[in-house]
Symmetry: C2
Subunit: 179 residues, 2 copies
DNA sequence: GTCTATAATAGGATAGAC
DNA sequence: GTCTATCCTATTATAGAC
């Protein structure tokens, strides 16, 4: 059920995801949703964030910090990313929730999610011997690249930008970029 | 007036931008807005797209195709981009409108806008001698990078990701990346 | 051209039956 | 736990005065 909610937020964002949408996706009435999530949409989005964090943490970010060459781990991670986003057909929950509701409670969680992505990738670049500042800059660039590629994929109804971005990612994370 | 509308869409996206928001930003009543834009929000967003296309076309993309070394033109373009997005404080209209309203009339225009960005940058990489496919891939990566950096900047309330992305952009567009 | 007033609808949320 | 029914508010849109 949470995955159904999650997918609505991924596809429509905070403002676009109405209770009717969420009700339809889950097969539950609006009132029934309030039984599971007393605070309404905010609780549903929080549950979706929980689900994504738990799932991606276990399947993608744990192996990323495992053993083997950094390049090989990153390549596996990219494969996982491609699968999770279905080659660009699905959006990113963090990105979708970053627009809208100005003052809401989810903001820190979204920010935190992005920070974790960046730190995990920065560690990888760091292992390869990059200077800390360069490692972080490369990691930021890779996360931005993937986020933007999902935006382009959605806007153009094509998976091509996403695939292009994933191919470029290793060069950006590990490539020799001075300053 | 159109720039006020534009900025609301940039900040809140299609779903988040209500007529009340647009009315407040312009200082006009909702009814007065309908006088200028008979079809409501859709017309306002279209006018915002017109404004952005005209403005960026003249100030950024025309000089990009001008004379001088590609690297220098690209550097000036990046300066213009930084100014237009106020170092990441403002969002991208295309990106903001890419989420929401499933079937609406603006979709082709958003797609077209992104396509023009990509083609302009691809020409630049092409001038530098990149193979056509590589030039296009690099251009896609740069547009995605900038888009994603704006998402990160908004999510983290920091201009740092945006500035990092702009520094990385020349290496991605012109750097030696083999396939 | 802009306003006030108003309609019609959708969204968010709650009450209470089962 | 899930439903129907309901409420309140916000949103989109229109009518008509000035």
């Amino acid at each position: 059920m949470v995955t159904a909610l999650r997918d609505v937020f991924r596809a429509k964002g905070w403002d676009g995801a109405s209770l009717s949408d969420l009700s339809r996706a889950t097969g539950l009435s609006r009132a029934a949703l309030y039984h599971h999530f007393p605070n309404g949409k905010a609780d549903m989005a929080a549950a979706a964030l929980d689900d994504v964090e738990r799932r991606l943490g276990a399947e993608l970010f744990a192996p990323l910090a495992g053993e083997g060459a950094p390049e090989a781990r990153f390549a596996r991670w990219l494969d996982g990313i491609a699968a999770y986003y279905r080659n660009g057909d699905l959006g990113c929950l963090l990105g979708a929730l970053s627009l809208g509701q100005d003052e809401h409670k989810l903001r820190p969680r979204v920010e935190d999610g992005f920070t974790r992505w960046i730190e995990a990738l920065a560690r990888l670049a760091d292992e390869r011997g990059a200077a800390p500042a360069d490692a972080r800059a490369s990691a930021v660039a890779v996360v931005a690249l993937i986020q933007g590629a999902l935006t382009l994929a959605r806007a153009t109804s094509s998976s091509a930008p996403f695939e292009t971005a994933l191919r470029a990612a290793p060069h950006i994370l590990f490539g020799n970029r001075s300053a």
